[in-house]
Protein backbone atom coordinates (compact mmCIF):
# COMPACT_ATOMS: atom_id res chain seq x y z
CA UNK A 1 0.00 0.00 0.00
CA UNK A 2 1.55 3.29 -1.06
CA UNK A 3 2.35 5.43 1.94
CA UNK A 4 0.80 8.53 0.38
CA UNK A 5 -2.70 7.10 0.78
CA UNK A 6 -2.30 6.82 4.52
CA UNK A 7 -1.19 10.44 4.70
CA UNK A 8 -4.10 11.45 2.52
CA UNK A 9 -6.56 9.62 4.76
CA UNK A 10 -4.99 11.12 7.83
CA UNK A 11 -5.30 14.62 6.33
CA UNK A 12 -8.91 13.96 5.40
CA UNK A 13 -9.73 12.81 8.93
CA UNK A 14 -7.93 15.77 10.45
CA UNK A 15 -9.90 18.00 8.09
CA UNK A 16 -13.16 16.55 9.36
CA UNK A 17 -12.05 17.01 12.98
CA UNK A 18 -11.06 20.63 12.35
CA UNK A 19 -14.30 21.15 10.42
CA UNK A 20 -16.36 20.19 13.47
CA UNK A 21 -14.67 22.83 15.62
CA UNK A 22 -14.91 25.49 12.89
CA UNK A 23 -18.58 24.63 12.40
CA UNK A 24 -19.22 25.14 16.12
CA UNK A 25 -17.45 28.51 16.14
CA UNK A 26 -19.30 29.77 13.10
CA UNK A 27 -22.66 28.57 14.44
CA UNK A 28 -22.50 31.04 17.33
CA UNK A 29 -21.69 33.95 15.04
CA UNK A 30 -24.34 32.88 12.52
CA UNK A 31 -26.98 32.55 15.21
CA UNK A 32 -26.39 36.09 16.45
CA UNK A 33 -26.33 37.47 12.92
CA UNK A 34 -29.43 35.57 11.82
CA UNK A 35 -31.50 36.65 14.80
CA UNK A 36 -30.23 40.12 15.75
CA UNK A 37 -28.89 41.12 12.32
CA UNK A 38 -25.63 42.27 13.88
CA UNK A 39 -22.13 40.91 13.21
CA UNK A 40 -20.09 40.44 16.35
CA UNK A 41 -16.71 41.49 14.95
CA UNK A 42 -15.27 40.79 18.40
CA UNK A 43 -16.56 37.21 18.47
CA UNK A 44 -13.10 35.60 18.40
CA UNK A 45 -12.02 37.88 21.28
CA UNK A 46 -14.85 36.48 23.41
CA UNK A 47 -13.33 33.07 22.70
CA UNK A 48 -9.91 34.43 23.71
CA UNK A 49 -11.30 35.46 27.12
CA UNK A 50 -12.81 32.01 27.50
CA UNK A 51 -9.40 30.45 26.74
CA UNK A 52 -7.82 32.61 29.44
CA UNK A 53 -10.60 31.51 31.77
CA UNK A 54 -9.71 27.88 31.12
CA UNK A 55 -6.02 28.60 31.61
CA UNK A 56 -6.48 30.35 34.96
CA UNK A 57 -9.12 28.02 36.36
CA UNK A 58 -7.37 24.82 35.33
CA UNK A 59 -3.65 25.59 35.37
CA UNK A 60 -3.46 28.31 38.04
CA UNK A 61 -6.34 27.53 40.41
CA UNK A 62 -6.32 23.77 39.73
CA UNK A 63 -10.03 23.36 39.19
CA UNK A 64 -11.26 20.06 37.76
CA UNK A 65 -11.26 20.52 34.00
CA UNK A 66 -14.99 19.89 33.54
CA UNK A 67 -15.92 22.41 36.23
CA UNK A 68 -13.58 24.93 34.60
CA UNK A 69 -15.21 24.28 31.23
CA UNK A 70 -18.72 24.69 32.66
CA UNK A 71 -17.81 28.01 34.26
CA UNK A 72 -16.13 29.23 31.05
CA UNK A 73 -19.19 28.38 28.96
CA UNK A 74 -21.45 30.20 31.41
CA UNK A 75 -19.00 33.10 31.76
CA UNK A 76 -18.60 33.73 28.03
CA UNK A 77 -22.38 33.36 27.69
CA UNK A 78 -22.70 36.16 30.26
CA UNK A 79 -20.15 38.20 28.28
CA UNK A 80 -22.38 37.76 25.21
CA UNK A 81 -25.35 39.13 27.17
CA UNK A 82 -23.26 42.05 28.43
CA UNK A 83 -22.08 42.81 24.91
CA UNK A 84 -25.67 42.83 23.72
CA UNK A 85 -27.10 44.92 26.54
CA UNK A 86 -24.30 47.48 26.72
CA UNK A 87 -23.17 47.82 23.10
CA UNK A 88 -25.69 46.30 20.66
CA UNK A 89 -29.09 47.09 22.16
CA UNK A 90 -28.61 50.89 22.15
CA UNK A 91 -27.52 50.66 18.49
CA UNK A 92 -30.25 48.36 17.17
CA UNK A 93 -31.93 51.12 15.20
CA UNK A 94 -28.64 52.64 14.00
CA UNK A 95 -26.99 52.22 10.61
CA UNK A 96 -25.25 48.82 10.17
CA UNK A 97 -21.87 50.54 9.77
CA UNK A 98 -22.19 51.99 13.28
CA UNK A 99 -22.90 48.57 14.71
CA UNK A 100 -19.86 47.16 12.90
CA UNK A 101 -17.67 49.97 14.20
CA UNK A 102 -18.98 49.48 17.74
CA UNK A 103 -18.28 45.75 17.88
CA UNK A 104 -14.96 46.44 16.11
CA UNK A 105 -14.16 48.85 18.93
CA UNK A 106 -14.99 46.15 21.45
CA UNK A 107 -12.48 43.91 19.65
CA UNK A 108 -9.63 46.37 20.30
CA UNK A 109 -10.89 46.97 23.82
CA UNK A 110 -10.84 43.24 24.62
CA UNK A 111 -7.41 42.75 23.04
CA UNK A 112 -5.95 45.65 25.01
CA UNK A 113 -7.69 44.60 28.22
CA UNK A 114 -6.23 41.11 27.85
CA UNK A 115 -2.76 42.53 27.19
CA UNK A 116 -2.93 44.70 30.32
CA UNK A 117 -4.43 42.01 32.50
CA UNK A 118 -2.64 38.88 31.31
CA UNK A 119 0.50 40.12 29.50
CA UNK A 120 1.60 39.00 26.08
CA UNK A 121 3.10 35.63 27.01
CA UNK A 122 1.77 32.56 25.25
CA UNK A 123 0.12 30.25 27.76
CA UNK A 124 -1.31 26.77 27.57
CA UNK A 125 -2.92 24.21 29.84
CA UNK A 126 0.23 22.09 29.85
CA UNK A 127 -2.03 19.16 29.11
CA UNK A 128 -0.39 16.37 27.13
CA UNK A 129 -3.10 14.24 25.61
CA UNK A 130 -1.91 11.06 23.93
CA UNK A 131 -1.89 10.53 20.19
CA UNK A 132 -3.96 7.77 18.72
CA UNK A 133 -2.03 5.48 16.38
CA UNK A 134 -4.15 3.42 14.05
CA UNK A 135 -3.36 1.84 10.68
CA UNK A 136 -0.23 3.92 10.36
CA UNK A 137 -2.06 7.19 11.05
CA UNK A 138 -1.58 9.63 13.89
CA UNK A 139 -4.69 11.35 15.21
CA UNK A 140 -4.39 13.42 18.37
CA UNK A 141 -6.87 12.80 21.16
CA UNK A 142 -7.29 16.51 21.75
CA UNK A 143 -8.63 16.88 18.22
CA UNK A 144 -10.96 13.91 18.64
CA UNK A 145 -12.16 15.31 21.94
CA UNK A 146 -12.70 18.78 20.45
CA UNK A 147 -14.60 17.27 17.53
CA UNK A 148 -16.82 15.17 19.79
CA UNK A 149 -17.61 18.08 22.10
CA UNK A 150 -18.28 20.41 19.15
CA UNK A 151 -20.68 17.88 17.65
CA UNK A 152 -22.45 17.44 20.99
CA UNK A 153 -22.78 21.21 21.35
CA UNK A 154 -24.23 21.59 17.88
CA UNK A 155 -26.73 18.76 18.40
CA UNK A 156 -27.82 20.37 21.68
CA UNK A 157 -28.37 23.71 19.94
CA UNK A 158 -30.23 21.98 17.11
CA UNK A 159 -32.57 20.24 19.55
CA UNK A 160 -33.13 23.48 21.45
CA UNK A 161 -34.03 25.32 18.23
CA UNK A 162 -36.33 22.50 17.07
CA UNK A 163 -38.11 21.53 20.26
CA UNK A 164 -38.54 24.55 22.51
CA UNK A 165 -40.87 27.51 22.06
CA UNK A 166 -37.95 29.90 22.53
CA UNK A 167 -36.02 27.98 19.87
CA UNK A 168 -38.94 28.27 17.46
CA UNK A 169 -39.10 32.00 18.15
CA UNK A 170 -35.35 32.29 17.41
CA UNK A 171 -35.86 30.63 14.03
CA UNK A 172 -39.00 32.67 13.34
CA UNK A 173 -37.51 36.04 14.22
CA UNK A 174 -34.80 35.51 11.60
CA UNK A 175 -37.55 35.15 8.96
CA UNK A 176 -39.95 37.94 9.89
CA UNK A 177 -38.87 40.41 12.53
CA UNK A 178 -41.85 42.79 12.50
CA UNK A 179 -44.68 40.40 13.21
CA UNK A 180 -43.13 38.74 16.26
CA UNK A 181 -45.21 41.13 18.37
CA UNK A 182 -48.35 39.50 16.96
CA UNK A 183 -47.17 36.12 18.27
CA UNK A 184 -46.83 37.60 21.74
CA UNK A 185 -43.04 37.41 21.53
CA UNK A 186 -40.94 40.07 23.24
CA UNK A 187 -38.15 40.41 20.66
CA UNK A 188 -35.81 42.03 23.18
CA UNK A 189 -35.97 38.92 25.35
CA UNK A 190 -35.23 36.68 22.36
CA UNK A 191 -32.22 38.87 21.52
CA UNK A 192 -30.85 38.43 25.03
CA UNK A 193 -31.38 34.66 24.95
CA UNK A 194 -29.70 34.49 21.53
CA UNK A 195 -26.74 36.54 22.76
CA UNK A 196 -26.37 34.21 25.73
CA UNK A 197 -26.49 31.22 23.40
CA UNK A 198 -24.00 32.76 20.96
CA UNK A 199 -21.70 33.58 23.88
CA UNK A 200 -22.07 30.08 25.34
CA UNK A 201 -21.08 28.59 21.96
CA UNK A 202 -18.02 30.84 21.95
CA UNK A 203 -17.37 29.60 25.50
CA UNK A 204 -17.56 25.97 24.44
CA UNK A 205 -15.29 26.74 21.49
CA UNK A 206 -12.78 28.33 23.85
CA UNK A 207 -12.65 25.15 25.96
CA UNK A 208 -11.85 23.15 22.83
CA UNK A 209 -9.44 25.59 21.19
CA UNK A 210 -7.40 25.86 24.36
CA UNK A 211 -6.58 22.18 23.85
CA UNK A 212 -5.21 22.92 20.37
CA UNK A 213 -3.68 26.41 20.63
CA UNK A 214 -1.70 28.52 23.08
CA UNK A 215 -3.63 31.50 24.36
CA UNK A 216 -2.40 35.09 24.03
CA UNK A 217 -4.20 38.43 23.61
CA UNK A 218 -4.11 38.23 19.81
CA UNK A 219 -5.09 34.59 19.43
CA UNK A 220 -8.46 35.78 18.08
CA UNK A 221 -6.71 36.73 14.85
CA UNK A 222 -5.85 33.05 14.29
CA UNK A 223 -9.44 31.95 13.85
CA UNK A 224 -11.52 35.15 13.80
CA UNK A 225 -11.09 35.94 10.10
CA UNK A 226 -11.67 32.35 9.03
CA UNK A 227 -14.87 32.25 11.08
CA UNK A 228 -16.22 35.26 9.18
CA UNK A 229 -15.22 33.74 5.84
CA UNK A 230 -17.04 30.52 6.74
CA UNK A 231 -20.18 32.39 7.73
CA UNK A 232 -20.14 34.46 4.55
CA UNK A 233 -19.38 31.43 2.39
CA UNK A 234 -22.27 29.53 3.96
CA UNK A 235 -24.57 32.52 3.58
CA UNK A 236 -24.71 34.75 6.67
CA UNK A 237 -27.42 33.58 9.02
CA UNK A 238 -27.74 30.19 7.31
CA UNK A 239 -26.87 27.58 9.96
CA UNK A 240 -26.67 24.58 7.64
CA UNK A 241 -24.68 26.50 5.02
CA UNK A 242 -22.24 27.58 7.73
CA UNK A 243 -21.63 23.98 8.81
CA UNK A 244 -21.07 22.84 5.20
CA UNK A 245 -18.70 25.74 4.55
CA UNK A 246 -16.78 24.92 7.74
CA UNK A 247 -16.06 21.38 6.54
CA UNK A 248 -15.15 22.56 3.03
CA UNK A 249 -12.70 25.08 4.48
CA UNK A 250 -11.23 22.62 6.95
CA UNK A 251 -10.59 20.05 4.21
CA UNK A 252 -8.97 22.67 1.98
CA UNK A 253 -6.68 23.71 4.82
CA UNK A 254 -5.88 20.15 5.77
CA UNK A 255 -5.28 18.86 2.24
CA UNK A 256 -3.38 21.99 1.20
CA UNK A 257 -1.21 21.45 4.25
CA UNK A 258 -0.61 17.85 3.20
CA UNK A 259 0.62 18.57 -0.31
CA UNK A 260 2.48 21.79 0.47
CA UNK A 261 2.84 23.65 3.74
CA UNK A 262 0.21 24.49 6.31
CA UNK A 263 0.32 28.12 5.17
CA UNK A 264 -0.54 27.01 1.64
CA UNK A 265 -3.62 25.31 3.04
CA UNK A 266 -4.85 28.71 4.16
CA UNK A 267 -3.93 30.24 0.81
CA UNK A 268 -6.04 27.61 -0.97
CA UNK A 269 -8.94 28.22 1.38
CA UNK A 270 -8.84 31.97 0.82
CA UNK A 271 -8.47 31.67 -2.96
CA UNK A 272 -11.44 29.31 -2.95
CA UNK A 273 -13.37 31.88 -0.94
CA UNK A 274 -12.58 34.71 -3.37
CA UNK A 275 -13.54 32.60 -6.38
CA UNK A 276 -16.78 31.55 -4.70
CA UNK A 277 -17.63 35.16 -3.98
CA UNK A 278 -17.63 35.76 -7.73
CA UNK A 279 -19.49 32.55 -8.57
CA UNK A 280 -22.03 32.51 -5.72
CA UNK A 281 -21.95 35.85 -3.92
CA UNK A 282 -24.95 34.92 -1.74
CA UNK A 283 -23.10 31.94 -0.29
CA UNK A 284 -22.86 28.21 -0.92
CA UNK A 285 -26.37 27.44 0.23
CA UNK A 286 -28.10 30.54 -1.08
CA UNK A 287 -31.85 30.41 -0.81
CA UNK A 288 -33.88 30.80 -3.94
CA UNK A 289 -36.26 33.76 -4.20
Amino acid sequence: MPILDVYLLEALINGVLLGGVLALISLGLNLVFGVIDVVWICYAELIMFGMYGMYFLYSVFHWPILAAAALCIAGVGALGVLLHVIVIAPLLGAAPINQLLATGGVLFFLQSAATVMFGIEFRNLGLRLPVLKAAGMFISYSRLLAFGAALTGMVAVYLFLRRSYTGAAIRAIAQDRQIMTLMGVDSRRIYVVTSALGGALAGLASCLLVLLYDVHPFVGLTFGPITFLICVLGGLGNFVGGAVAAFVFAELISLGGLYLDLEWGYVFAFVFFIVMMFVRPEGLMARRS
Binding site: Y165, A168, A169, D176, Q178, I179, T181, L182, G184, D186
Partner: protein, 234 residues
Protein backbone atom coordinates in the same frame (compact mmCIF):
# COMPACT_ATOMS: atom_id res chain seq x y z
CA UNK B 1 -65.44 44.53 23.84
CA UNK B 2 -63.09 46.60 21.68
CA UNK B 3 -63.48 50.36 21.69
CA UNK B 4 -61.50 52.91 19.69
CA UNK B 5 -62.05 56.60 20.46
CA UNK B 6 -60.74 59.43 18.26
CA UNK B 7 -57.66 57.49 17.21
CA UNK B 8 -55.07 59.30 15.14
CA UNK B 9 -52.08 57.51 13.67
CA UNK B 10 -49.59 57.76 10.88
CA UNK B 11 -46.09 57.13 9.66
CA UNK B 12 -43.66 59.98 10.24
CA UNK B 13 -45.29 63.16 9.00
CA UNK B 14 -47.91 61.24 7.05
CA UNK B 15 -51.18 60.92 8.94
CA UNK B 16 -53.19 57.84 7.99
CA UNK B 17 -56.03 57.91 10.52
CA UNK B 18 -58.06 60.97 11.58
CA UNK B 19 -60.14 60.65 14.76
CA UNK B 20 -61.36 57.14 14.13
CA UNK B 21 -63.90 55.79 16.61
CA UNK B 22 -65.09 52.22 16.30
CA UNK B 23 -66.64 49.48 18.44
CA UNK B 24 -66.78 45.74 18.32
CA UNK B 25 -69.38 44.50 20.80
CA UNK B 26 -69.43 41.05 22.32
CA UNK B 27 -70.76 38.48 19.85
CA UNK B 28 -70.32 40.68 16.80
CA UNK B 29 -68.59 40.39 13.48
CA UNK B 30 -67.70 43.82 12.13
CA UNK B 31 -66.24 44.85 8.79
CA UNK B 32 -64.22 47.89 7.84
CA UNK B 33 -64.53 48.57 4.16
CA UNK B 34 -63.03 51.26 2.03
CA UNK B 35 -60.90 51.90 -1.03
CA UNK B 36 -57.16 51.35 -1.30
CA UNK B 37 -55.10 53.63 0.89
CA UNK B 38 -58.02 54.47 3.17
CA UNK B 39 -56.03 53.50 6.26
CA UNK B 40 -57.60 50.08 6.84
CA UNK B 41 -54.34 48.25 7.44
CA UNK B 42 -53.09 51.07 9.67
CA UNK B 43 -56.26 50.67 11.72
CA UNK B 44 -55.54 46.97 12.25
CA UNK B 45 -51.93 47.63 13.13
CA UNK B 46 -52.88 50.26 15.67
CA UNK B 47 -55.20 47.80 17.41
CA UNK B 48 -52.65 44.97 17.62
CA UNK B 49 -49.86 47.30 18.75
CA UNK B 50 -47.65 47.11 15.65
CA UNK B 51 -47.80 50.90 15.48
CA UNK B 52 -48.81 53.34 18.18
CA UNK B 53 -51.46 56.03 17.70
CA UNK B 54 -50.52 59.68 18.18
CA UNK B 55 -53.81 60.50 19.89
CA UNK B 56 -56.98 58.84 21.10
CA UNK B 57 -57.65 55.72 23.13
CA UNK B 58 -58.09 52.00 22.49
CA UNK B 59 -59.49 49.60 25.06
CA UNK B 60 -60.09 45.87 25.04
CA UNK B 61 -62.64 44.81 27.66
CA UNK B 62 -61.68 47.84 29.71
CA UNK B 63 -57.91 47.33 29.45
CA UNK B 64 -56.08 50.30 27.97
CA UNK B 65 -54.15 48.94 24.99
CA UNK B 66 -51.94 52.00 24.76
CA UNK B 67 -50.56 51.22 28.21
CA UNK B 68 -49.92 47.58 27.20
CA UNK B 69 -46.63 46.58 25.53
CA UNK B 70 -47.20 45.31 21.97
CA UNK B 71 -46.30 41.70 22.73
CA UNK B 72 -48.79 41.58 25.63
CA UNK B 73 -51.78 42.59 23.52
CA UNK B 74 -52.27 39.09 22.10
CA UNK B 75 -52.56 37.83 25.69
CA UNK B 76 -55.65 40.04 26.07
CA UNK B 77 -57.35 37.94 23.41
CA UNK B 78 -56.62 39.88 20.23
CA UNK B 79 -55.11 37.84 17.39
CA UNK B 80 -54.13 39.61 14.17
CA UNK B 81 -53.89 37.92 10.77
CA UNK B 82 -51.75 40.48 8.99
CA UNK B 83 -51.99 41.72 5.44
CA UNK B 84 -50.45 39.32 2.91
CA UNK B 85 -50.40 36.59 5.58
CA UNK B 86 -46.82 36.96 6.76
CA UNK B 87 -46.19 33.29 7.53
CA UNK B 88 -42.69 32.17 8.44
CA UNK B 89 -41.94 30.80 4.96
CA UNK B 90 -39.03 28.51 5.83
CA UNK B 91 -40.74 26.93 8.81
CA UNK B 92 -43.18 24.02 8.62
CA UNK B 93 -46.92 24.51 8.94
CA UNK B 94 -46.79 22.97 12.39
CA UNK B 95 -43.97 25.27 13.51
CA UNK B 96 -45.96 28.26 12.26
CA UNK B 97 -48.92 27.09 14.33
CA UNK B 98 -46.61 26.56 17.29
CA UNK B 99 -45.54 30.21 17.04
CA UNK B 100 -49.21 31.18 17.12
CA UNK B 101 -49.45 29.32 20.43
CA UNK B 102 -46.29 30.92 21.85
CA UNK B 103 -48.09 32.62 24.75
CA UNK B 104 -47.36 30.91 28.05
CA UNK B 105 -51.11 30.71 28.66
CA UNK B 106 -51.64 28.95 25.30
CA UNK B 107 -48.91 26.33 25.67
CA UNK B 108 -50.74 23.84 27.93
CA UNK B 109 -53.62 23.92 25.43
CA UNK B 110 -51.36 23.29 22.41
CA UNK B 111 -52.70 19.82 21.46
CA UNK B 112 -56.28 20.88 21.91
CA UNK B 113 -55.83 24.06 19.82
CA UNK B 114 -53.96 22.14 17.14
CA UNK B 115 -56.86 19.66 16.85
CA UNK B 116 -59.29 22.58 16.64
CA UNK B 117 -57.30 24.21 13.83
CA UNK B 118 -56.83 20.92 11.95
CA UNK B 119 -60.55 20.26 12.21
CA UNK B 120 -61.23 23.67 10.72
CA UNK B 121 -58.59 23.16 8.02
CA UNK B 122 -58.09 19.44 7.30
CA UNK B 123 -55.72 20.53 4.55
CA UNK B 124 -53.24 21.83 7.13
CA UNK B 125 -53.13 18.47 8.87
CA UNK B 126 -52.03 16.86 5.59
CA UNK B 127 -49.38 19.52 5.11
CA UNK B 128 -48.18 19.89 8.67
CA UNK B 129 -44.59 18.98 7.77
CA UNK B 130 -44.46 21.12 4.62
CA UNK B 131 -42.65 24.46 4.57
CA UNK B 132 -45.29 27.17 4.77
CA UNK B 133 -43.76 29.20 1.93
CA UNK B 134 -44.22 26.34 -0.54
CA UNK B 135 -48.01 26.16 -0.20
CA UNK B 136 -50.63 27.79 -2.44
CA UNK B 137 -52.00 31.22 -1.55
CA UNK B 138 -55.25 29.79 -0.22
CA UNK B 139 -53.47 27.23 1.94
CA UNK B 140 -51.17 29.93 3.28
CA UNK B 141 -54.17 32.06 4.20
CA UNK B 142 -55.64 29.11 6.08
CA UNK B 143 -52.35 28.60 7.87
CA UNK B 144 -52.21 32.28 8.80
CA UNK B 145 -55.73 32.18 10.22
CA UNK B 146 -54.95 28.90 11.97
CA UNK B 147 -51.83 30.43 13.50
CA UNK B 148 -53.89 33.30 14.91
CA UNK B 149 -56.49 30.89 16.30
CA UNK B 150 -53.77 28.96 18.18
CA UNK B 151 -53.66 31.69 20.83
CA UNK B 152 -57.35 31.03 21.67
CA UNK B 153 -58.39 34.62 20.90
CA UNK B 154 -61.63 36.41 21.78
CA UNK B 155 -61.26 38.77 18.83
CA UNK B 156 -59.77 37.91 15.47
CA UNK B 157 -58.47 40.74 13.28
CA UNK B 158 -58.46 39.77 9.60
CA UNK B 159 -56.66 42.09 7.20
CA UNK B 160 -57.81 41.51 3.61
CA UNK B 161 -58.00 37.73 3.88
CA UNK B 162 -59.31 37.43 0.31
CA UNK B 163 -56.52 39.46 -1.33
CA UNK B 164 -54.76 37.67 -4.15
CA UNK B 165 -56.86 34.50 -3.94
CA UNK B 166 -58.84 32.75 -6.66
CA UNK B 167 -62.61 33.44 -6.56
CA UNK B 168 -63.43 29.90 -5.38
CA UNK B 169 -60.97 30.24 -2.51
CA UNK B 170 -62.37 33.67 -1.64
CA UNK B 171 -65.78 31.97 -1.16
CA UNK B 172 -64.15 29.49 1.22
CA UNK B 173 -62.50 32.25 3.22
CA UNK B 174 -65.80 34.04 3.79
CA UNK B 175 -67.50 30.76 4.62
CA UNK B 176 -64.79 30.27 7.19
CA UNK B 177 -65.36 33.67 8.74
CA UNK B 178 -68.95 32.59 9.36
CA UNK B 179 -67.80 29.38 11.02
CA UNK B 180 -65.27 31.14 13.23
CA UNK B 181 -68.00 33.52 14.33
CA UNK B 182 -70.37 30.67 15.00
CA UNK B 183 -67.65 29.25 17.23
CA UNK B 184 -68.01 32.29 19.49
CA UNK B 185 -65.00 34.32 18.31
CA UNK B 186 -65.57 37.97 17.47
CA UNK B 187 -64.26 39.10 14.13
CA UNK B 188 -63.07 42.47 12.89
CA UNK B 189 -62.39 42.16 9.18
CA UNK B 190 -60.95 44.62 6.71
CA UNK B 191 -61.92 43.99 3.10
CA UNK B 192 -62.13 45.42 -0.37
CA UNK B 193 -64.48 42.68 -1.40
CA UNK B 194 -67.47 44.72 -0.21
CA UNK B 195 -70.44 42.71 -1.45
CA UNK B 196 -69.16 39.45 -0.07
CA UNK B 197 -67.92 40.69 3.28
CA UNK B 198 -71.17 42.51 4.05
CA UNK B 199 -72.96 39.18 3.79
CA UNK B 200 -71.00 37.65 6.68
CA UNK B 201 -70.85 40.52 9.19
CA UNK B 202 -73.40 42.24 11.44
CA UNK B 203 -72.18 45.79 11.09
CA UNK B 204 -69.68 47.69 9.00
CA UNK B 205 -67.78 50.94 8.90
CA UNK B 206 -66.79 52.77 5.76
CA UNK B 207 -63.29 54.18 6.02
CA UNK B 208 -62.13 56.70 3.43
CA UNK B 209 -59.02 58.86 3.47
CA UNK B 210 -58.42 58.00 7.11
CA UNK B 211 -61.79 58.78 8.61
CA UNK B 212 -65.06 56.95 9.15
CA UNK B 213 -67.60 58.17 6.58
CA UNK B 214 -70.47 55.85 7.37
CA UNK B 215 -71.41 53.15 9.84
CA UNK B 216 -74.34 50.85 10.34
CA UNK B 217 -75.73 47.40 9.83
CA UNK B 218 -74.49 45.58 6.77
CA UNK B 219 -77.83 45.93 5.02
CA UNK B 220 -78.06 49.65 5.60
CA UNK B 221 -74.53 50.27 4.49
CA UNK B 222 -75.03 48.29 1.29
CA UNK B 223 -77.80 50.68 0.37
CA UNK B 224 -76.17 53.97 1.23
CA UNK B 225 -75.20 56.56 -1.26
CA UNK B 226 -71.89 57.11 0.53
CA UNK B 227 -70.72 53.63 -0.28
CA UNK B 228 -71.40 54.01 -3.96
CA UNK B 229 -69.74 57.37 -3.87
CA UNK B 230 -66.65 56.04 -2.12
CA UNK B 231 -66.11 53.36 -4.68
CA UNK B 232 -67.39 54.86 -7.87
CA UNK B 233 -66.70 58.49 -7.14
CA UNK B 234 -70.13 59.58 -8.43
Amino acid sequence: MLALRSVRAGYGSFQALFDVSLDVRAGEAVAVIGPNGAGKTTLMRVISGLIRPTAGSIAMEGTDLLATPGHRIVALGIAHVPESRRLFPRMTVEDNLKMGGFLPAARPKYRQRLDFVFELFPRLRERRRQLAGTMSGGEQQMCAIGRALMSDPKLLLLDEPSAGLAPVVVEQVFELVKRIRAGGINVLIVEQNVQQVLRVVDRAYLLKAGSIRAAGTAAVLLATETLREAYLGV
